[in-house]
């Protein structure tokens, strides 16, 4: 079957200012970056925009800058560029791992980090690592800029704090030294398909006590979320196999999975527990802490 998209007016601004003006003036407009989500969503009728604003010429939004203790990523940076970047690999390895396992080469050559966040799929794969890293999002409209904590950005499936005339400009990611990290994804095909559950973990241990624990999951709630119950339980506790086992079970309190075409809610709950446990173990292993049993 040929698929035809609904009709729309097409705009291709050459500067950020021009894009922001269009975004402010046009009714029912959608921004296209990589387009790998948007075109499918238009095809299935999820969106019927009157206008499409193609921001691909805005080269001022494509960069990865190392500021030492933080990395700034332009929203229009392609996923494949993140994988090729030595900065990302060295300083944000958890983001590198998540992106490495996303989609396919063809998709990563087009899809952007900003698009993955703004599309706000509950299964967005860049969200869990950025949530544990507590990234800040710089958004802009014709009036000015503001900063949003990524933990507050997602409101529901495909809903974010972005106003109709705002554009995501930059993702500011603090560098976390001395943390163990892990990113685990469970999908039906190796890495290609949407995840059933993904877990990102970031842990810090001092004198065999958890001093900081951050865990984020996707695909198990209307938005990507932090597993606050697990984190609270672990902080201040001794690092033992029993403590992480008990903590993982608490993830149930933080999630509200649904049954869909990819998996049942029950399966997702079970997998969330197992993946949280495994993810914590891998993160600890990266700090040199291994358990004989378990």
């Amino acid at each position: 079957m040929f698929y035809r998209l609904p009709q729309f007016k097409y705009y291709k601004p050459q500067t950020l200012d021009e894009a922001l003006k269009l975004l402010n003036e046009l009714d029912e407009a959608k921004v296209i970056a990589g387009g790998t989500d948007l075109l499918i969503d238009m095809r299935i009728g999820r969106y019927r925009p009157k206008s499409i604003i193609d921001i691909n010429d805005l080269s001022e939004l494509k960069y990865i800058i190392d500021d030492g203790n933080r990395i700034r990523i332009g929203a229009l940076t392609r996923l494949q560029e993140l994988i090729y970047s030595e900065i990302i690999k060295e300083k944000l390895p958890i983001l590198y791992e998540a992106v490495y396992h996303m989609a396919s080469w063809q998709i990563r050559n087009m899809a952007t980090i900003g698009g993955n966040l703004c599309n706000a799929s509950p299964a967005a794969d860049t969200a869990p690592p950025l949530m544990v890293l507590e990234a800040k999002l710089r958004v802009i409209n014709i009036e000015g800029e503001r900063t949003i904590d990524i933990r507050e950005f997602f409101l529901g499936p495909r809903k974010t704090l972005l106003k109709g005339n705002e554009l995501l400009k930059e993702i500011i990611v603090p560098v976390h030294k001395d943390y163990g990290y892990s990113y685990m994804k469970l999908g039906r095909r190796n890495s290609f398909t949407l995840s059933i559950v993904s877990v990102a973990s970031l842990v810090k241990v001092e004198n065999n006590i958890f001093s900081d624990v951050r865990i984020a999951l996707n695909s198990i709630a209307p938005t990507p979320i932090r597993a606050v119950s697990v984190e609270k339980y672990l902080v201040g506790r001794k690092v033992t196999i029993d403590s992480i086992k008990a903590a993982s079970k608490l993830v149930i309190k933080d999630i509200s999975p649904i049954t869909d075409i990819r998996a049942t809610a029950e399966y997702r709950k079970d997998m969330a527990i197992i993946l949280t446990y495994d993810s914590l173990k891998v993160a600890l292993k990266r700090l040199g802490i291994e358990f004989v049993k378990g």
Binding site: M1, I40, D54, S104, Q106, I107, N109, M110, N190
Partner: protein
């Protein structure tokens, strides 16, 4: 809806085509420009049969609006027949039996050609990773991977 004139480079030659803004590149290539090697598969960015090179990088032509490629450069297998690396790749695909029904083959050739051009040193894992976005329902991938590795060894010996 008003037609838009789109100009781009196709297999080394400039082309001009009038399209509606909602036209998908896959359809333009097949129906207006006669490029039938770009196959219509899933049309949702999963199967890889419609893979092309956009400025040298493999992408799905079913996930691009034709208006988006204005001023860009597109390559399909049709423009690569005089390329030595590509010829070796095709030879090894046939010798190794990496082709059965052939529907996925142009997509696989484009992706593996891009891999061999992009990365100077590759392992079997690199090949597996690169062709993740191409599906084959006949050969079970083993022979495709062999054909790509054989070509790699061939160009580096």
């Amino acid at each position: 809806m008003a037609l838009v004139l789109v100009k781009f480079n196709l297999n080394g030659h400039p082309v001009e085509v009038d399209v509606e803004p909602n036209e998908i590149l896959l359809n333009t290539l097949r129906n207006k420009l006669g490029i039938k090697s770009v196959k219509r598969g899933c049309e949702r960015g999963e199967c890889g049969a419609c893979t092309i090179l956009l400025d040298g990088k493999p992408v799905y032509s079913c996930m691009l609006l034709t208006v988006q490629v204005n001023g860009r450069s597109i390559d399909t297998v049709d423009g690569l027949w005089n390329n030595e690396l590509f010829k070796k790749l095709v030879y090894n695909f046939t010798i190794k039996g990496a082709i059965q029904c052939g529907y996925c083959t142009p997509g696989f050739l484009i992706t593996s050609y891009a891999l061999l051009r992009t990365k100077k040193v590759i392992s079997k894992e690199d090949v597996l990773k690169a062709i993740e976005g191409n599906l084959c329902r006949c050969t079970g991938y083993k022979k495709i991977i062999e054909a790509i590795m054989e070509t790699y060894e061939c160009i580096h010996s």
